[in-house]
Amino acid sequence: MPEIPLSELLSPAILSRISDYHLLAKTAIEGLISGLHRSRCRGTGSEFMQYRSYVPGDDLKYLDWKLLARQGKACSKVYHEETNLSCAILLDASASMDYQGEKAPCSKFRYAAIIAACMAYLARSQGDQVGLFVYSDTMKMATPPGSHAGSLPKILAGLERITPDGKADHALAMRHTEEYLKRRSLVIWLSDFQGFEDQLGKALRRFRFSGHDGLVCQILDDDELTLPFNETLRFVDSESNHEITTTASLIRDVYKKRMDDFLDRTRRHCLDQQTDYLLAATADNIGYLLAAWLHKREGLR
């Protein structure tokens, strides 16, 4: 059986075919981790795990002097890393997230749900607490961060049930989430942020003042980015149901300029609030996206 390259395995076209989020997240994360050659259980906690041969450059603090004196071998002690991170995932399930372009492998919501599942799986595999908050005009699901064994299956099962509809009320979701976050947490926010770019900075500031760390992942379809249509269409707003009839080819330049401006403002608000920002199109490889973010986090540590 030919080996499937990681890039293909983690493509949304393949992942979106897996309906079971647990399997999906496991496939993505373990494939990703093995691809990155990263140890999952290594750190500088208090719980001893094993010895390993001293390598020049290791912190001398971890050198077991007694063993060196007794046996003449230079060995470093390795401990389980102690984590105390709480991760909250905010997932926008409004009607605008239900859009799937003709060339896109999945809808924006499905893409966001895959990322959410992967993040949750990754957090749980590192022993962190993880919670999920799904919203549109109301809170569709609220699972506070927890470290018990049933939290991950609950989150993944919830993702399968939810269908996107309604108008996004980001402020409500933010308030609701804040109530559940008792301690410093990492807030991962997955949305297209349509119409929220001006309030985004304020919202992120509130999170930051509460001591939370943030990651904003803006998910858009290629159709939204490029407006590839040529014919005259009657566009219907998915959330407000307002209509406009226009020939896309004639307004494409203006549209793209406005879209770039929208993305730029969103990114700038994130940067202003020292929040990580990722722009994802539904055709982008999820593996690369996660890897890019993990590297970024590692670099910041």
Partner: protein, 653 residues
């Protein structure tokens, strides 16, 4: 006023609605597309799209015009001058056409017709009345009058004849009778509308004449008819009479068939199967050599005129055969004429010879009427004929006559003369004789696909190949000559060539004992008689006419016309004799047919200008001008415009 020769083609214009309907049904309403957010969209300006749509509309219009032009061209439009404004006078005219064909004799038809006219007249108070009785021609006419009496008199004298009807002449007479000033014109036709009578070709009713068809529905359900009698001589003065009867009804019919010949009468009860023809045979003793008058009569039914058939019995009129000989009497030509005449005039089993032979010198040929004979023998005379004589002989042959040619004392000149006038392409290559070959000459081959094969079947052909040939001409046939007989050496002896309806036969030997023993052989008589008999038309000597047909013109050998002893009225069945020709006049079998044309169809056809024969009528008016070429030109122009528009559109794309 624009009119059309084929107006039904105009239905094709309905197809023009198809692209419009398709356009309306498939009108591209902009597709609905749900989009995450329309905040960044704006209404676009559509100047280019609009221009494209306009061009599409022009293209569609152009194509529709092309199609319309095509349809109108096929409908053959013509311009008919607008009819003058209807006269303001209050003159109203009604014309009645009364069918007097034989079929109207059927029980109650005339009475029914009179009732129909009576009903029609009740609605025509204050009109001018006219009428005509017609059969093959217009028999009687009552011009338009305010007084009804002339028309009543015409109707009273309305009696069916024995002929078929030809309504075309009567319609023409009726149309010409109408006054141009008449404000209202009505034409009534009272007929049984037999289909065979209504194969019109030239009639087109003007639009201002209102046509009323009053059909007489007669009952011919039990009708049987005698429609043909054939007489065959049996020898021993006996004749076989074959009577063909037809039952037109849908059930078997029992009839008494009586055949009378001279004073002898035979009657037989017959059962005729439905819609079938049956042949009944009688044998009579022939009483008169010149011919006996006979009748075949069926017991009467609703239509009695076709139950009677008169015929001539007796030996057939002999066929005139002309022997053309050189003016100077010679032993050779006399011998040839003697043998030929004996062979053709010989009696067989008591039946007189089919042929009557007359001799004529070359010098007297110019005065002879060649149409009075059927076959001509050129016995050594062809080289003496003038070019005028040869030309006349050729015309005789082209009109159906047959010429047999035998060489004379100068065979080279003989075929040369015939070749020069186009009788044949036979080349004379000298003579072949016993002395030159030192061996006996004789026939050795007979064309297997010719009628000679029937005369001389293989088991009976020995005599044909037994006689001696002392000398014969060596002939080279042309491409159009067919060789019927060859010698043992394979040289042609008898050649045949067709000329129009006639035939030309050329022998390579003369009917002279110095040439061969052929005239003495048993094959000579059957060969000559059967060849000549096969060329005689089937109706020779007996002319069968239908009632109303004119008498044929019959001439003597000198060209003078033979007149009947007493005047012959062909309008009624009967027998006549013109010289030796026997004339039979009987009812046209078409009158017996119960097949009628639907009056609705006829009305529509007469008014639309299409004939019942399916042939379109040419516009009646001489001022009518065909316009289809203009429409075809318009179509070509629009095709050009369409092509330019398409090319322009492609370039922009």
């Amino acid at each position: 006023m624009l009119s059309f020769t084929y107006p039904f083609f105009l239905w094709g214009l309905l197809a023009l609605a198809a692209p419009l309907l398709l356009h309306l049904l498939n009108r591209k309403r902009s597709r609905r597309h749900v989009f995450p957010s329309i905040r960044f969209l704006q209404i676009s300006q559509l100047p280019r799209e609009g221009r494209k749509q306009l061009r599409d509309w022009i293209l569609l219009l152009c194509r529709m015009i092309i199609f319309a032009c095509l349809v109108i061209t096929l409908a053959r439009p013509y311009w008919r001058p607008k009819p003058e404004a209807p006269p303001s006078s209050d003159l109203k005219q009604a014309f009645f056409l009364l069918d007097a064909s034989a079929s109207m004799q059927t029980d109650g038809s005339i009475e029914q017709g009179k009732q129909l006219i009576k009903g029609a007249l009740e609605e025509l108070s204050g009109w001018q009345y006219g009428g005509a009785v017609y059969a093959m021609q217009t028999l009687a006419i009552a011009p338009f009058q305010n007084d009804l009496e002339p028309l009543r008199e015409l109707i009273e004298n309305w009696k069916p004849g024995y002929t078929v009807s030809n309504p075309e002449n009567a319609l023409a007479a009726a149309l010409s009778a109408f006054s141009a000033e008449a404000g209202r014109k009505k034409l009534y036709i009272i007929s049984d509308f037999q289909r065979s009578d209504w194969n019109l070709k030239k009639i087109h009713l003007p639009e201002d004449i209102s046509l009323e068809l009053l059909p007489v529905t007669h009952e011919m359900r039990d009708n049987c008819a005698v429609f043909e009698v054939t007489v065959m001589p049996l020898g021993n003065q006996q004749q076989r009479i074959l009577v063909n009867c037809r039952n037109y009804s849908a059930v078997p019919q029992q009839r008494l068939l009586t055949v009378r010949l001279g004073t002898e009468t035979q009657t037989r009860e017959i059962t005729l199967p439905p819609t079938k023809t049956q042949r009944i045979a009688f044998v009579f003793q022939s009483l008169e050599a010149q011919g006996s008058q006979g009748t075949a009569t069926l017991s009467s039914d609703s239509f009695v005129r076709d139950d009677y058939f008169c015929f001539w019995a007796g030996n057939p009129q002999p066929v005139n055969v002309l022997l053309i000989l050189p003016d100077e009497s010679s032993e050779s030509s006399d011998m040839a004429a003697f043998f030929t005449q004996k062979a053709l005039e010989a009696e067989q089993d008591g039946i007189p010879g089919l042929f009557r032979v007359q001799r004529l010198g070359v010098g007297a040929l110019f005065a002879a009427d060649l149409n009075s004979c059927q076959t001509i023998f050129l016995l050594g005379a062809s080289e003496r004929l003038s070019s005028n004589d040869l030309q006349r002989l050729k015309e005789f042959m082209l009109s159906g006559g047959s010429i047999f040619h035998c060489p004379g004392p100068a065979p080279n000149l003989s075929w040369h003369a015939l070749q020069g006038q186009g009788f044949c392409d036979i080349a004379f290559n000298g003579m072949v004789g016993e002395a030159s070959r030192h061996s006996a000459l004789g026939l050795g081959w007979l064309a297997p696909d010719s009628m000679l094969q029937d005369i001389f079947p293989p088991e009976n052909s020995s005599d044909l190949f037994l006689f001696n040939i002392r000398k014969h001409a060596r002939l080279q046939p042309g491409s159009q000559e067919k060789v019927l007989l060859r010698t043992l050496a394979g040289l042609p002896v008898l050649l045949e060539r067709e000329h129009g309806k006639g035939h030309f036969y050329s022998f390579a030997l003369a009917f002279d004992l110095s040439w061969s023993d052929f005239p003495l052989s048993q094959s000579f008589l059957p060969l000559l008689r059967e060849l000549c008999a096969a060329l005689v038309p089937a109706d020779h000597g007996r002319k069968k006419l239908t009632c109303g047909e004119p008498l044929p013109k019959i001439t003597r050998l000198d060209g003078s016309e033979i007149l009947p002893e007493k005047p012959v009225d062909t309008a009624q069945p009967g027998l006549a004799r013109i010289g030796e020709y026997l004339i039979e006049i009987n009812l046209n079998p078409a009158e017996s047919s119960p097949d009628t044309i639907k009056t609705g169809d006829l009305l529509r056809l007469l008014q639309s200008g299409t004939t019942t024969a399916g042939m379109p009528l040419l516009p009646a008016s001489t001022d009518s001008r065909p316009h289809w070429k203009l429409w075809a030109l318009a179509m070509a122009v629009f095709i050009l415009i369409e092509a330019l528009l398409c090319q322009q559109a492609d370039r922009k794309t």
